[in-house]
């Protein structure tokens, strides 16, 4: 408990943590709602080229209304928002090496495993606040979009909202612990953020995008054990948003149970690897 309270004490007082959290909220409002709403409201008719006959960009605005805010949040931010969670994980662990405070915290009272548990607990609190804030921001933005368009304020039921929050917590839990394990492995922040971003934005997408096109369906059998694919399965398990006159999108390749199990396995594995590294390594910085 001492370790958890101490980690929380320094985490909530760190400006960089809140820059990260507020940064995601700002991006969610602007890129998630404001820019699409403006584009779909004020685009000229020529912008609808390539869409089925009678479909306009305004038909896509249904994604911006409250009834879809849980799906929208999950499908839009499971990876891009995950990058912010990754940075949080890196910041909490990598900075300890950068500042040399790793030797300070390991020479107080509790052992390294207890200190790691405290850090993971504090990270979980911040990630939960990030997820709750993101859902609140998206709910408010979707309400604003509906009010501006004079649409009804129908929200998903409470169960779906809670499930959505739980799913995003698991997804961001994965990302933040991915950041933490990378920072532990490299004993610094820069390398961890660089490699984490490369994986999030390039590596998995490139491997399976390229391989899937060339090698066929069996690549999907392998992909279903990779983390970003599973964040997608979990987000998609909340159902696709259906647009007027557009064909329904196929369901996810694997179901939510599979996705939760795989992501939970990654979370546990990352914690165990971090524990092993911290336990075995000498602190020489």
């Amino acid at each position: 408990m001492r370790a958890f309270l101490g980690e929380l004490f320094k985490t909530v007082r760190r400006p960089a943590v809140w820059v990260c959290v507020v940064g995601l909220f700002a991006v969610a409002v602007t890129i998630g709602y404001a820019l699409p709403w403006l584009a779909e409201t004020y685009s000229p008719p020529s912008a609808a080229q390539g869409l089925p006959q009678g479909t306009t960009l305004a038909d896509f605005k249904i994604a911006l209304y409250p009834i879809n805010f849980v799906r929208q949040t999950l499908q839009q931010w499971s990876v891009l928002g995950g990058v912010f969670a990754l940075i949080l994980g890196v910041l909490l662990q990598g900075s300890e090496y950068g500042w040399g405070t790793v030797k300070t915290i390991y020479t107080q009272r509790d052992g390294r495993m207890v200190m790691l548990a405290g850090k993971v607990g504090a990270l979980a609190v911040v990630v939960l606040l990030l997820v709750l804030g993101l859902f609140a921001v998206d709910a408010a933005s979707s309400t604003g979009a509906a009010l501006l368009d004079g649409k009804s304020l129908d929200y998903p039921d409470a169960t779906q909202i809670l499930k959505g929050i739980a799913a995003m917590f698991l997804i961001y839990g994965f990302w933040s612990l991915f950041g933490l394990v990378l920072a532990t492995l490299f004993r610094q922040s820069a390398m961890a953020i660089g490699l984490g971003l490369a994986y999030a934005l390039v590596v998995e997408g490139l491997i399976f995008g390229f391989g899937g096109g060339l090698l066929g369906d069996w690549v999907k059998k392998i992909q279903e054990w990779f983390p970003i694919a599973n964040t997608g399965y979990l987000a998609d398990s909340f159902g696709a948003i259906t647009f007027r006159r557009l064909p329904a999108q196929p369901g996810p390749y694997a179901d939510a149970t599979h996705a939760v199990a795989v992501l939970a396995a990654y979370v546990v594995t990352f914690v165990l690897i971090s524990a092993l590294l911290l336990r075995r390594r000498d602190v020489t910085s």
Partner: protein
């Protein structure tokens, strides 16, 4: 100062090898007694910091064992009784000095009111609400000592605490350490500065290339004072000196004088015998070896002198 014979730090054959074949610490047997200010002296790279890191559990020894404050190094039982600064004190730059110590108090499970007491002790109260990143090197060092004091430890382990400080900062920190060493508290302080150790410490251990080369009080390490004698004719003088203290205690120096190991209370008597033997005594003085001489003899370096 109440120093007991019971060791608060003891190591047996403590050894640390690194993968690249470097032996940082080699079979170290260290004994620090309760209540003493123990100076851990050695040139740069001798293995002082590695040893201290092992004593607080940051580094695992390759072999050997150690007990610190009655428990294994790095265990909660040991850490709860040890306050340490290893190399430069490290804190969170975005937190104030006060909040950094509050954090340490939370980690240690001690009441937050201890924070002000510790800040008072190191005279940092006026700057306590300022961010750590704005502190001078000396203030950072004092905050480090305050952090080490928060849990009211039985032993303070300080690794080169005056490193990088300006002369006034060095004086302040040394004075602080001398004050902290008064009473029951044990202080283990490493340094490569002889003068510093001489001012602060009651006992000294000297380490060189990872091995212990000497241990004792400053007087023990210096050894007995000698008498320097110059007299003519030299043969008559040598005969008298050999007869008085034995040839094994008389050494002819390069400048023609003699170095004589003898109780200095016998100086007048030696002088009388030389005169009675017909020797003209031109020089007769007590010579005390400095700690610098001892250090250089033991380590073969001039580091830190």
């Amino acid at each position: 100062m109440a120093t007991g014979s019971e060791p608060i730090v003891s190591t047996r054959g403590l050894t640390k090898h690194y993968g690249n074949g470097i032996v940082a610490v080699d079979s170290l047997n260290l004994n620090v007694r309760r209540g003493e200010v123990y100076g851990f002296l050695g040139p740069n790279g001798a293995g002082k910091t590695t040893t201290l890191r092992m004593l607080v559990g940051l580094i695992k020894p390759t072999s050997g064992s150690a007990m610190v404050a009655g428990a294994a190094p790095g265990s909660p039982a040991s850490l709860s009784r040890v306050g340490a600064i290893i190399e430069a004190p490290a804190f969170y730059p975005y937190l104030s000095g006060y909040d950094n110590l509050r954090l340490i108090a939370i980690f240690c499970g001690v009441p937050v009111k201890r924070v002000d007491v510790a800040l008072e002790e190191v005279e940092l109260m006026p700057r306590k609400q300022h961010r750590f990143s704005t502190y001078s090197l000396g203030m950072k060092q004092r905050l480090g000592i305050a952090a080490a004091l928060i849990k009211e430890p039985d032993i303070l382990i300080l690794d080169e605490p005056t490193n990088g400080l300006d002369p006034q900062g060095m004086v302040d920190v040394r004075k602080l350490i001398i004050d902290l060493g008064k009473g029951e508290r044990t202080v283990l302080v490493s340094s490569h500065l002889l003068g510093e150790v001489e001012q602060m410490c009651t006992r000294i251990g000297v380490i060189q290339k990872g091995r212990f080369v000497a241990e004792g009080t400053i007087d023990e390490l210096r050894g007995a004072a000698t008498l320097t004698v110059r007299a003519e004719p030299a043969a008559a003088a040598a005969s008298v000196l050999n007869g008085e203290v034995g040839p094994e205690n008389v050494k002819l120096l390069q400048d023609g004088s003699y170095s004589v190991k003898v109780d200095l209370k016998r100086t007048a008597e030696i002088n009388r015998r030389l005169v009675q033997a017909g020797a003209d005594v031109t020089e007769l003085r007590a010579t005390e070896r400095s700690l610098e001489d001892v250090f250089m003899e033991l380590t073969g370096t001039e580091a830190g002198l």
